[in-house]
Amino acid sequence: MKMKNILLGLLFSAFAATSLASSGLTGQAAPDFALKSASGENLRLSEYRGDVVMVNFWATWCGPCRQEMPLLDELYSRYGRVGFSLLGVNIDDNSSKAMNMVSELGVSFPVLFDSNKAVSKLYEVDAMPVTVLIDREGTVRYVHLGYKPGYEEKYLDQIRSLLRE
């Protein structure tokens, strides 16, 4: 009986470990996508191969996104010329609200619209904001769910280490 319980426990933990590993994108090739940007051009992730890319999923109704975006813009203006790209993916149904917020916050990084949520599904976005860091080879290296003050320090360290690779 005891042996059976131990075996069941082992099986369960193995299953849990597998499902946990398969749910994350970390270490996987970043799923490619193309979206319409606020400037009117279509941008495709795979065309940024060779750069360290941050994909930030955000929405106008998300308070932490509003806090985070100007800080991300600082990172973008600081590291943009040394091979760092930032794509802000807005998931609102109505892109005009997003446009207003972008101009209000004055961010300079490209903002893309994922109104039909196809890309959010691809990246398993189930929190807001979600920030994904992709290395020069196109592999997802870090995924951050939500935003709390101080996260930008983590982003800074991770971007610097990925740029050095």
């Binding site: 193309a34 979206l35 319409k36 051009e41 279509n42 941008l43 495709r44 065309e47």
Partner: protein
């Protein structure tokens, strides 16, 4: 004298026995070597045969997998091409087969440039049954005077036996100063 002769004959006979034994030993060693060489050769042949069989099996499995995934008989490929493109900046192509959306491709500036330089883009590949099928292609982009442009083109094609290739061609109609969208089947 007799003793001497006896001694000599004894020595000679002993020598004969020794040499006979060594010859026999040498022959046995040579035989064993030949046998082991033969064994090695046959083992080597076996390994080579096994390798060949594995390679054959691998090739067969690869072909089988390909045939199962994209059977040549039901395969239909759709390509987008752009000839000149003076009157049209391509933004996206949307494809519907028999009323069902199968592809919606957004072209980046770089991809549109590649098309303008003569590149052909395979936008979709499908498996379709034999018989008639309807293809609707919707092209969006910027037309003359950078105005938003959205045009559709339809083709009903007969899918026979064998693979089929369909080209969605965007050309310039100089007389009308308008783009033209043509769907054609490759023969």
């Amino acid at each position: 004298m007799v003793t001497n002769r006896l001694l000599i004959s004894l020595i000679v006979s002993m020598l004969l026995v020794f040499s006979a034994t060594s010859i026999a030993q040498e022959t046995a060693v040579a035989d064993a070597e030949a046998a082991s060489r033969e064994k090695f050769r046959s083992l080597d042949e076996d390994v080579q045969n096994l390798k060949k069989e594995v390679l054959d099996l691998n090739r067969d499995l690869f072909l089988l997998e390909e045939e199962l995934l994209f059977p040549a008989n039901s395969q239909v490929a759709f390509f987008v091409s752009l000839d000149v493109g003076e009157y049209f900046d391509l933004d996206s192509v949307n494809l519907k087969i028999d009323g069902k959306e199968v592809a919606n491709y957004l072209y980046t500036e770089r991809e549109a440039e590649a098309l303008a330089r003569g590149g052909v883009h395979r936008v979709h590949m499908a498996n379709l049954k034999t018989g008639d099928h309807e293809l609707i292609a919707i092209f969006t982009g910027a037309g003359p005077n950078i105005r938003d442009y959205r045009r559709g083109a339809t083709l009903t094609f007969d899918k026979g036996i064998g693979a089929k290739y369909i080209e969605l061609e965007i050309t310039d109609r100089v007389k009308k100063q308008q783009p033209e969208f043509v769907i054609k089947e490759w023969e």
